[in-house]
Point group: C2
Chain length 600, copies 2
Amino acid sequence: MKKLILWTGLACSLLFGAAANANDEVQKLTQDPNQWVLQTGDYANTRYSKLDQINAGNVNKLQVAWTFSTGVLRGHEGAPIVVGDIMYVHSPFPNTVFALDLNDDGKIIWKYEPKQDPNVIPVMCCDTVNRGLAYADGKVFLHQADTTVVALDAKTGKVVWSVVNGDPKAGATNTATVMPVKDKVLVGISGGEFGVQCHVTAYDLKTGKLAWRAYSEGPDDQILFDPVKTTALGKPVGADSSLKTWQGDQWKTGGGCTWGWYSYDPATNLVYYGSGNPSTWNPKQRPGDNKWSMTIFARDADTGVAKWVYQMTPHDEWDYDGINEMVLVDQKIDGKDRNLLVHFDRNGFGYTLDRKTGELLVAEKYDPAVNWASKIDMDPKSATYGRPLVVAQYSTEQNGEDVNSKGICPAALGTKDQQPSAFSPRTGLFYVPTNHVCMDYEPFKVSYTPGQPYVGATLSMYPAPNSHGGMGNFIAWDATKGKIVWSLPEQFSVWSGALATAGDVVFYGTLEGYLKAVDAKTGKELYKFKTPSGIIGNVMTYTHKGKQYVAVLSGVGGWAGIGLAAGLTDPNAGLGAVGGYAALNSYTALGGQLTVFAVP
Amino acid sequence: MKKLILWTGLACSLLFGAAANANDEVQKLTQDPNQWVLQTGDYANTRYSKLDQINAGNVNKLQVAWTFSTGVLRGHEGAPIVVGDIMYVHSPFPNTVFALDLNDDGKIIWKYEPKQDPNVIPVMCCDTVNRGLAYADGKVFLHQADTTVVALDAKTGKVVWSVVNGDPKAGATNTATVMPVKDKVLVGISGGEFGVQCHVTAYDLKTGKLAWRAYSEGPDDQILFDPVKTTALGKPVGADSSLKTWQGDQWKTGGGCTWGWYSYDPATNLVYYGSGNPSTWNPKQRPGDNKWSMTIFARDADTGVAKWVYQMTPHDEWDYDGINEMVLVDQKIDGKDRNLLVHFDRNGFGYTLDRKTGELLVAEKYDPAVNWASKIDMDPKSATYGRPLVVAQYSTEQNGEDVNSKGICPAALGTKDQQPSAFSPRTGLFYVPTNHVCMDYEPFKVSYTPGQPYVGATLSMYPAPNSHGGMGNFIAWDATKGKIVWSLPEQFSVWSGALATAGDVVFYGTLEGYLKAVDAKTGKELYKFKTPSGIIGNVMTYTHKGKQYVAVLSGVGGWAGIGLAAGLTDPNAGLGAVGGYAALNSYTALGGQLTVFAVP
Ligand SMILES: O=C(O)c1cc(C(=O)O)c2c(n1)C(=O)C(=O)c1cc(C(=O)O)[nH]c1-2
Ligand SMILES: O=C(O)c1cc(C(=O)O)c2c(n1)C(=O)C(=O)c1cc(C(=O)O)[nH]c1-2
């Protein structure tokens, strides 16, 4: 115990100080398991904690330690962060931030209540969620729904700087967390359903000054590509790699939004993230591969220039945004140590790549229901190398406009959406909250109007047929082999992010509101507790005064819970999600609460 | 354990059946400690439970068993009720009702979502609260904010009947629970800040047909007084007892609202309740005693005719509504067994009366800070018998219009407001959640417009000076002597209803959000837990499958929490309550959650 306390002390001395290099500071803090300073837990996005006070042997004794209401309803994504003795909790729109005193039962030290125009709400595609705060350099960073990025003094809540990253009137909003890297803070943007030309932007950590901006599509100087040095599957991308794949000016309203998770590898100085769907959802209207939507990017953290890219779903026909997290792990493949990037894509394939080079190592379905593509072509000599082999029956492009393509798996919200997976170095396994949902998809012609939905498809979603009847699974995955190790059926999509710990327990939440703890090795359920509302937040852990706590936000919503969150009942509403999840109504109601657990 | 389970079985066979006499049924159910079918626990309003599994010896091991979010923010008053294996939970406006399956982790069996005009909200004086449901005759009764009384089929949630009790456009709303008595259901009404001529109304339990209505002021046939048989302090009231005490037609806009708690004594067939403030709050504008505002009524349950009345605060000058609960207990006074009615009035006096005759036995301050009256005249021979002896300095009438009378104790929200007390027959003590707040009060001239506020005073509130600095106390009171036995200082008013149990534990909630358990004998704190939001709900208990649970609603609001609930910051806003409770902002945020506790 002594050691833990010393650690905290050490970490605290770093806080609120003038760190010479924020990168070092954040990296140190993420390595201290007593704190949780980034949404992703660490730069590698493993969502793994070295804490083991709560473990497979005693997690069945877990109890609620304390609770907190955010005062806001609708979908609560993300998680609180803990820096020293302070917990920072955020809410969905209007994105209230609370600093809670862990030494005083969560007393509110300060509160930041942004005044945001409620007209932003209808411009948010998939509920008024926000994926949380990040800490660096004595500041807490919030990226508001209206795209205002604010740096708050961690001690006082005073605004140190703020900058506007996009225009909600033109369809740009934000739901993502930010990623502080070195002397910058990286931020994404949403708007794939509004035809925004999306980008990643780096702002100076201390001043908010724009450092670089990299678009997902457009000319090379906008996408920060070096035709020679930027590679795709080992080959230089060449000039105009994006422009060539769009008809005319369509890239200007091309989407490819950047609302997911960011990772960073200090060894390579690369940041990793994925881009979302090309706009519109009607593929007929945008011929070409629509690069670099649906792409994994590896960019230099200092300059933003792309080192390598990999497009998973060229010419998307299903809204399979590629924004899910990139988990950076070192594992052996074929007996060889590799620096890996593992990514569970919306399209239902689990990808394992070499994170230095972008070499594609493994690409397998992580839900057997996936049917839109038979496989990813893994033959480097093939003309379709690295591309999915699309099954004609499920091609909304081939079936054409105004034709309802039926039985496509996964549904648009993917085999996994924003809900992040976790990785345990102790088991070598990935723990993946998944959807087990299929869809009918009917594209239709749509015209672009700034700030208006630019969707062009009617969807309906339902549980994967001929399966267990539920809409989700929680799986353990071997990324070196591309194999499911175990799979737990769930009645609803698991829309909550997982946490793996050195106690060999994996935690996740369910849309009904359960926090569940399962054995990391076997998947055996060890504990469950019904929190006030459906969980779409991510489970996190920290210590306070030497005691381990596990915390999660409840508050049903997100795309899966949009029916409840926005009070929609037409089955096709909510971009097709309302019907499939209608039964949620019998399990939970809107909420917005933090529940903190401990073994007494 | 066996015995408890049998009990439940027996009780269940009564449920959902055609009870010959709803009175018998409800009475039996209230005597079964495994259930909680009325907000008041029993007809006597004791809020005492015979359950003792959770007791002074083990309550420190209490843990959260499960939770539920109502999907509504703002003040959550009242409590869930439990009938058999179903828990019924209500919310503030829009008054959603949930039937939760206790056999299936609180799965939602049915939900009733009234469509109410949001224009009702600004007509509610003191937050959008609702004090909960009642069960009788296979039906769950809800009295909505818009004064619609609905009887819902307990099994299906279908509306059996509904009736409109008042007109929100003329200032009438509802916050109170209903009281089913025999073949009728009794309902009150709110509107004392809008000049409503308030009343109690009995509707037929099976059909909703109006049976009788008794106004608080007006001609004898409207107030259902018998000039000869209706007594006040042992004497017939005589003809026109109300009319004589108002100037002209002022009784027609006279208030005297009936938004509090109701008790019933089957032995006398009398129902007991109190009436609220006379309208306006400017006493200069309404000369006279303003009868029967501020009055305890004992009325025949079948006819509504008043047996006796006692006006506590004639010609109110401070908004000391007399609506607090009447607790019916049998205790010895001076060695003689008496049938008592005990009432902790807003005006700061704790009254003990003979509930058969209305004889005044004890009237003492239950907070030493009370200063507006020196005492209640207890001399039957005195001309002012039964009246408070008002201290000139604190008389807003004597100081006059546009004069700010300072340092009046208690504040308008009284030494106690709606938060109900509990009584333990084991200790013979009352457990009273109190306010320890004083005020400045400046009356001003106001004219009556239907549906518009008719207040006529500017208030500010603050902690009782020269005391412990807090705004509340939780006290134990001996009603036979009129003495405080012990008193626990609290930082904020205790706005939550207490529960006493055979385990010799007393529970209450705090505005910061703590559920507290104290020793019934000594007041020693045995347990506390921070729930998601401030507690203004009432603690209740029940068993399920032989195990005892304690439940409470969180959700800060009510008059004390109106600043947070309605987002007000001007210290004089919220009828003067905002300033005094501003510090609440540092402890809690809006919420709406049920927390259910058990000893594992
Ligand atoms: O393309 C976009 O800009 C965009 C943004 C968002 C978002 O900001 O939440 C989502 C999506 N797309 C999306 O496709 C999607 O499935 C989705 C789910 C969620 C969620 O939080 O539950 N957001 C989003
Ligand atoms: O005179 C009335 O009609 C009336 C109604 C209500 C109400 O309906 O809640 C309150 C009051 N008065 C009142 O004086 C008061 O202190 C009060 C507190 C509360 C509350 O729920 O916190 N309601 C009311």
